[in-house]
Amino acid sequence: MTPRVVFPNKLLPYLLVAPQLAITLVFFYWPAAQALYQSMLKEDPFGLKSKFVWFDNFKKVLADPNYLHSIKVTVVFSVATAAVAMIVALLLAVMAEKVVRSKGFYRTLLIWPYAVAPAIAGMLFLFLFNPSIGSLAILLRKMGIAWDPVLNGTDAMVLLVAAAAWKQISYNFLFFVAGLQAIPKTLIEAAAIDGAREAKRFWTIVFPLLAPTTFFLLVINTTYAFFDTFGIVHAVTGGGPGKATETLVYKVYNDGFVNLILGSSAAQSVILMIIVIALTAIQFRYVERKVHYG
């Protein structure tokens, strides 16, 4: 039983929460309500003529083959990014655990990329893989791989996933390292004495004990790939070639700010908002309780 803190003054607690509430109201509820209202309007960019159309925008968006295509692109992109980012991070974390000397040095280096802004990560990869001037692209071509992300949708997607995953690996690495440290050494040593080899020890002891961390990271990475990768898409492919890399978030931007179709763009962002709420709910309901932060 934890002791409950009770304020003698009835008003004080509300006053103390007020700043936080005010920030949430101004920066979340207000714009969210605006988006909701806008999503039911049909309007010209300047707002000179507007018509309330109820759910017409949603109906149109959900019936639009381009939108359905964009969902598919987003799922492929998110799953690939999360998988690559997590597998590589886990591998690096397990390896870094084994390093005897200057462990801290390696870890610091591996964490660094997380400090890079998404758009800058995008530009880095864009230059490295640029078909005409990129050093890695030239290497690929020398190996006989026809590398052309400007016209080939698959190449463009690979490039995006690489850029997005590269940035997220550091974050995952941090959590995996913490998770690994939380595993009692005695368990592993006992297994070693029983004659279990390295791979066996990993799959039967380390990996299952890391499961909560892995599940937590899965949710975080999916959310990241869904919503925080706008900068990378914008810098690397701009949604092209064709519509091969147009994710849901990028489509909201493109329809709203480039094509100036405000109603449809607002409806799409409301749909995205619903997805975020659902993902967050899942995270709180199932994940948060089971994760041990070591």
Binding site: K42, E43, D44, P45, F46, G47, L48, K49, S132, I133, V150, L151, N152, G153, G238, G240, P241, G242, K243, N254, F257, V258, N259, L260, I261
Partner: protein
């Protein structure tokens, strides 16, 4: 020390406040999207204008890229904080025109303030693009450019091509590109920026074929795209065929292809005349030619249409502010200002007098090729096919075209399929936009 600094600051602020209120200068805000050398031109023009008179103060504010500046202007208008003058790129012209009531035609601003306004002093090809069907000039053409052909003389030499004769027709371009590729003079023969602007919109004007109904949308109303006519299909099929073995190389939707040319990877490039600065800076041995035309098109070459941007004036401002805007536009039309703008930035002069003065000064002899975009635009009086294109949602329609072109160049569809799709998807989008 800090107290004294503070006191000085207060005193300075006080002096500043009193001096500005004493003169009662009307501030005119100008939101623009110019960077680098072009931004310096904006600042210089504003400074000189402010020094030339005492009633108005022009305040230029950089608002990001072209689409960002347009969005900033629209958002400011919705928040009732619109600037006096907004620079809008060519593609946004239809958006601004559709916003009747939000903008005030430049012709009205000039005549109402009592300023001299003679439409005849401006280059007809440019003014036609920024005017209503009845001829009312809606916005002030600030920076206009036109697509031209650049070629690498060293690569031409290596390929055994005549370095002094740039290809004139598209067929000649294809032949030259094949020769560059097969002789090994360069990895790719030909590349182009802006397939929408150069190979579709300007292709239509230069070859005098229709791009869309209703005078390419300038007449307003229900517009239907015509870009799947045989001339376009043949042209794009040729591009698609050349793309297969890399004789033609695609760079991207906007000006990415310029990089391929600058790196010496491609021997020929079609690009905006505004892109000249980078090519000069690279120190390449380059040549300039007219935009190629289609030899199957009767009457080609006609004239090219302007790209670039124009200045729009928002509605609902005070009379005093409009007078200031008119004073600035009159200043901007002065021959010496236009001459400076043209020679410094590489954009076209918008008045005939500035063009004549530049010609007389011997600038074109010293800088061969700089006259080409002007001659292209002025060569013939514009027809219904060559005044430019206008749609309320041109950015979206260009996006659709780019998507279809990319699929075609990747070998997923033929030119006929790509253009048919671009037309049907584009028409649906136009209908949707007009349904507002």
């Amino acid at each position: 020390m800090s107290f004294r600094g503070l006191a000085a600051g207060v005193a300075a602020t006080f002096v500043l406040c009193t001096t500005t209120s004493a003169f009662a200068v009307t501030q005119i805000s100008w939101w623009h999207a110019m960077t680098g050398a072009n931004a310096e031109v904006v600042d210089k023009i504003a400074k000189d204008f402010n020094a030339s008179q005492k009633d108005y103060e022009l305040v230029p504010v950089f608002k990001g890229t072209y689409p960002e500046a347009l969005n900033a202007g629209i958002a400011a208008f919705r928040a009732k904080q619109a600037p006096d003058i907004l620079q809008v790129f060519d593609v946004g012209t239809g958006v601004m025109m559709a916003a009747e009531g939000a903008v005030k035609p430049v012709a009205d601003v000039l005549t109402e303030s009592g300023a001299q306004f003679d439409k005849g002093q401006y280059l007809p090809g440019i003014v036609a693009y920024y005017s209503k069907p009845d001829g009312t000039m809606l916005s002030f053409p600030y920076n206009s450019s036109s697509p031209i052909l650049y070629y690498n003389k060293d690569i031409f030499q290596k390929a055994g091509l005549d370095v002094n004769t740039p290809p004139k027709t598209w067929n000649e371009v294809w032949e030259a590109a094949k020769k560059i590729k097969s002789s090994g003079a360069a990895a790719c023969g030909y590349t182009s920026t802006w397939l929408t602007w150069i190979h579709t919109e300007n292709f239509a004007a230069w070859n005098n074929v229709s791009w869309a109904t209703q005078q390419n949308g300038l007449g307003g109303g229900d517009v239907e795209l015509k870009i799947n006519a045989p001339l376009y299909v043949n042209h794009f099929q040729a591009l698609a065929d050349l793309a297969k073995d890399g004789t033609f190389k695609y760079g991207g939707r906007t000006s990415e292809a310029k990089q391929l040319f600058l790196a010496g990877e491609c021997g020929i490039l079609t690009e905006s005349s505004g892109g000249l600065g980078d090519i000069v800076k690279s120190g390449m041995n380059y040549g300039i030619g007219q935009l190629p035309y289609d030899s199957d098109a009767p009457g080609a070459p006609q004239n090219t249409t302007p790209g670039g941007a124009s200045l729009w004036v928002f509605g609902g401002k005070s009379e005093e502010q409009y007078k200031g805007v008119a004073a600035f536009f009159s200043y901007l039309s002065k021959t010496e200002v236009q001459e400076y703008l043209h020679q410094k930035s590489g954009y076209l002069p918008v008045t005939l007098a500035a063009y004549e003065a530049t010609k007389k000064s011997g600038f074109y002899e010293k800088n061969p090729g700089r006259e080409t975009p002007i001659l292209q635009m002025m060569g013939k009086a514009p027809t219904d096919n060559s005044k430019g294109v206008r749609l309320p949602n041109l950015p979206q329609v260009r996006d659709i075209q780019n998507e279809e072109y990319e699929k075609m160049l990747a070998g997923q569809q033929t030119a006929q399929q790509a253009l048919d799709n671009a037309v049907s998807r584009g028409n649906a989008a136009i209908k949707e936009a007009l349904g507002n």
